[in-house]
Symmetry: C2
DNA sequence: CCTGCTTATACTAGGAATGAGCATAAGCGG
DNA sequence: CCGCTTATGCTCATTCCTAGTATAAGCAGG
């Protein structure tokens, strides 16, 4: 057999996340000014040289962008048949999620606001208005499915993903939401990928121009994973400087979860949970009473099985 | 460039789990009687035919074993340079986790007891005795690292993975435990893979003959994932028949988590949590008072964000 | 039919964790 | 000193969990 024809191309994709100025950011390549869509950084696997996939990723990220990645975890492997390169060869992408500290942020690089790609995911200022049009488009499709047997199942997925039932909005389900919108043709790339979706309807440009190929789906996968993970593993600290105030910590968590939290309860959770220790120092630049500076307390890993930060939205809404 | 030389081979691997007679089982291929090590079922990705990786997996599993898979999720992609086929070509394996109902169990197929591969993971009858030798081997290695800078970090990983600190035993960390044992040369395949581990020591056959290649690592990954997932998604029901008693449900959870649970509290959790509804029927074959038969209540997905089964070990220990 | 065994189910006291809010402290600019 | 800001401390009612005790309802054997 001919391996040249048989084997898909293997690609590594990096979703590199940082939080700056209360916004989750993702590193992209391609200029935003030109018409070319933004893309996630990706690179090859050198089958001869790289001992592990993760090492391969680290090495070309460092070469390409100068970033020395710290926390890295494998995210998902994307292999749908529609993924092809210019020559029509199938591409298999192994995606990784990386978290970098704020100061590591290379100044010139293309950091993009994550919620620019998913405006409906940020509830920090209350329920995002465009959710109405999004769910309306989806409901229309459910209705359109009509006599189709898929309708009730679709309706259930919709209800669960967008928190229309008693469960309410679950930040973790961002991937499911993206997938529903994609299937409904309500995001830009959906209509490009398939011609078979005539009911694209009015909301075809939800969330801006999207990204190259299926990179927006990869980013949605990363957001889901990250939002889930902060609940039971202390990954937030990978995004913060060595020393931080509790407000900073809370703001990073809120930025990731896209939800506001109750300040006093958050503080209690973090302090009583043993996740941080006070350095004796203060931050005087808060604009009010100076804030104690803390650092992550590694020992908590030995003390508690699942040390994370529960994200229970504050009642106030806004 | 020559794609035939450059591209690794892509393989799909299936970890197919069922629970029968209170034991988690995994489907394997290769005869246990001969000396050939057992392997997880694996198959190719047909780049021309299969639209998605998951479909590809489902189709060759059905052809090979006659099993029609229900619940399937992607597990992890394994791509270390050491993974090679007979011709020395690098293999990239995309592993999937599948759960099947007990009655789907093909009779003749090679179902193996999972804890045969990881005897230290089953705490249902109390702390497994061989843990002593395992941790002893690991401690020896930590000690041996001596002046090495790695020592404290290794000691911390050991403490966390095996629950030596206040946190106690965390069923979810089965992969970390396997990896530590592998690194220490305390499982059979470790010494085979590298010659560079002289201090294999006395415990070199922990957990029996192992599996082909790195399949035991893949199985450990699956166990970790599954143990984690039952806590926040109702996946257990994929392993049970349509109707079941609460004791059956509890036994399946216990089998997966490898831990005993408090009966009354488990019942309350499940019933008050709205995870099940009573069918009006009873199972009279329990040997005692007849047990109500329940079924999974799908609606809970709409009502609760993370409907799962917390696994808090019962105090009794044994 | 009563006894003793089994497993299933009901209920409860005490404690810990959680959700929501009030109150106070300590900077700053005027 | 006033009024604004942000940070921090504390309370209180409620829910949830832990670890039990107690009761129900089968079966086998005498």
């Amino acid at each position: 057999m001919n391996a040249a024809e048989a084997g898909p191309i293997i690609q590594l994709v990096a979703v590199i996340i940082a939080v700056t100025a209360n916004q989750p950011r993702v590193l992209t390549v391609g200029e935003a000014t030109s018409g070319a869509p933004l893309a996630l950084p990706s690179g090859p696997l050198d089958p001869a040289g790289d001992r592990t996939l993760e090492r391969a990723l680290r090495s070309w990220v460092r070469r390409q962008s100068g970033l020395q990645l710290g926390y890295v975890e494998q995210l998902y492997t994307f292999g749908d048949a529609a993924r092809r390169d210019a020559d029509g060869r199938r591409i298999l992408s192994v995606a990784y999620l990386a978290l970098v500290h704020e100061q590591q942020l290379a100044p010139a690089a293309g950091w993009q606001d994550c919620y620019g790609f998913f405006p409906w995911e940020d509830w920090r200022a209350g329920r995002p208005p465009m959710l109405e049009s999004a769910t309306a488009a989806l409901r229309a499709r459910t209705g359109a499915a009509g006599a189709n047997l898929l309708a009730p199942e679709l309706a259930e997925r919709l209800e669960i993903a967008f928190g229309l039932g008693e469960a309410g909005w679950d930040p973790e389900r961002s991937l499911e939401r993206y997938e529903l919108l994609y299937e409904a043709g309500a995001v830009a790339e959906a209509t490009l990928d398939r011609g078979l979706m005539p009911d694209a309807g009015p909301a075809a440009t939800l969330g801006g121009p999207g990204m190259a190929q299926d990179h927006r789906r990869i980013l949605a996968t990363a957001l889901s994973r990250l939002r889930g993970k902060i609940k039971y593993r202390p990954v937030v600290f990978e995004l913060l400087p060595e020393r931080f105030t509790l407000s900073q910590l809370q703001q990073v968590v809120e930025a990731l979860a896209g939800v506001r939290l109750h300040k006093q309860n958050f503080r209690r959770l973090v302090e009583q949970g043993g996740l941080v220790t006070s350095t004796g120092d203060y931050d005087y630049g808060t604009g009010g009473r100076p804030a104690k500076l803390f650092r992550f307390r590694r020992r908590v890993l030995r003390e508690r099985a699942a040390p994370g930060l529960r994200v229970t939205p504050a009642t106030g809404g806004a």
